[in-house]
């Protein structure tokens, strides 16, 4: 199993695969973080819209809570500047 992984790593290094390119890896990190944030916002957003439908005053609270997971993407963007 481990040998196979090593082989794969060597192969990737030799051929200069895209994943070993730091820029590509950073891009992937940001993309995955955005995906996670999107998934989190899906649940929070639908709950927030439900709460707003019952009580309009919850609009501000709902909006803030809905975009909170967005911070993950901003933190992930730091990676782009480090590499």
């Amino acid at each position: 199993m481990f040998e196979a992984t090593n082989e794969l790593g060597n192969l990737a290094l030799q051929t200069g695969g895209t994943l070993t390119d730091p820029n590509a890896a950073a891009a992937l990190a940001v993309g995955l973080a955005a995906l996670g944030a999107g998934y989190a916002e899906r649940g929070i957003g639908s709950a927030a819209v439900g709460a707003m439908a019952e009580d309009d005053d919850l609009f501000v609270n709902g909006l803030i809570l809905t975009v909170l997971p967005e911070t993950i993407v901003i933190l992930a963007l730091v990676v782009v500047f480090i590499v």
């Binding site: 709950a47 927030a48 439900g50």
Partner: protein
């Protein structure tokens, strides 16, 4: 509003939780028990029931107005919940709300049997189940029990009703038909439930309800001493009784009380069971069962916050609220004192 798509518990739970906050509390009930029927109607007009009270106010009055407004509000709230939910969530909620379909079918059959006016039957219906307006209209227009069964042919009630119809024709009593409807409902209730944890919690709640229903039926039979086969009233699916154990226990009240006391529900129902032994009052026991079920529902709603269980918990609480208001209004009409009425309420 369909079983297609992925479940959306977040949305439904958020809305339901907001509505739960506007249910009546102890304070409101205390106020209501000191009001007359007209004042109760006015009080309701200023609460979540306002729209229904206004819509029905010109045609009905007094306790009838309260009763019909409660029914209509219940139907609208539950229809809305079904409207919001999608996917497997819809299926789980619809399972429970189909009990209003069963209620409607029974009401229509009773109406046909007693030759009641169509409008009189109509106001007693609770349109919270899955039946659409079209089917309900056709049900109301049916002028014989055979006609009612024909309208229901393509639903889960069609076949059992058809089978029970022969027995009805022979004996001319409604019991076989009503049993057929109940059994069709309960069979569907527990069949093919999914396997995740909240669903299992929901299932155990439904089983508790079936157990309690069986227990009350058995107690009533045991007390009345009537010569009816208890097995005929048995509802499948519960954990507490089997068909034969229920038949045996219904013969003897003391054994039955002891059996329920030793079961997993013994702790919750214990005080009520002792009261039953001493005062011989079934009413207290039935209230204890309702309260236990409601407490169970409340607990259910907090274990898995984003699942079907808080929705069911709200449905139970809402149902209980309308029943409490109805009890207050009817009690006032009958001239009971506030203390007597308060003992009739089920509040957790």
């Amino acid at each position: 509003m369909s079983a297609a798509g992925s479940p959306n518990p977040e949305y439904v739970v958020a809305r339901v939780r907001a509505r739960r906050g506007s249910l009546f509390g102890d304070e409101e009930y205390r106020k209501l028990t000191r009001m007359g029927p007209a004042e109760i109607a006015r009080f309701m007009e200023e609460s979540t029931y306002g729209e229904e009270v206004n819509a029905l106010g010109s045609r009905h009055g007094g306790v009838d107005l309260i009763e019909y407004a409660l029914n209509r509000n219940l139907a609208e709230q539950f229809d809305a919940i079904l409207d919001w939910s999608e996917g497997s969530l819809y299926d789980l909620i619809a399972r429970y709300l189909r009990k209003f379909d069963a209620w409607n079918v029974k009401t229509v059959i009773r109406g046909v049997y007693t030759d009641a006016e169509q409008s009189a039957v109509e106001v007693d219906l609770i349109r919270a189940g899955e039946f659409g307006d079209r089917r309900i209209r056709r049900l109301l227009e049916a002028d014989s029990i055979d006609g009612v069964i024909e309208v229901l042919e393509d639903t889960i009630y069609g076949e059992p009703l058809r089978e029970a119809y022969a027995e009805f024709e022979e004996t001319d009593v409604l019991v076989p038909l009503e049993n057929a409807v109940d059994r069709a409902f309960y069979e569907r209730l527990l069949s093919g439930l999914g396997g995740d944890e909240p669903t299992r919690q929901y299932e155990s709640f439904l089983k508790a309800e079936v157990d309690f229903r069986n227990a009350t039926n058995a107690l009533r039979l045991a007390r009345s001493g009537a010569d009816i086969d208890p097995a005929a009233y048995f509802i499948e699916g519960g954990d507490l009784f089997t068909r034969s154990s229920l038949a045996r226990l219904a013969q003897n009240l003391d054994e039955l009380v002891e059996y329920i006391g030793d079961s997993q529900y013994g702790e919750e129902l214990g005080p009520a069971l002792r009261e039953l032994e001493e005062a011989d009052s079934l009413i207290a026991f039935e209230h204890a069962i309702d309260a236990a079920l409601l407490a169970y529902g409340d607990r259910l709603g907090t274990i898995h916050p984003v699942s079907v269980t808080p929705v069911i918990s709200y449905i139970l609480a809402k149902e209980r609220e309308t029943e409490n208001i109805r009890a207050i209004a009817r009690g006032k009409e009958a001239g009971l004192s506030p203390d007597e009425i308060e003992s009739e309420l089920v509040i957790t």
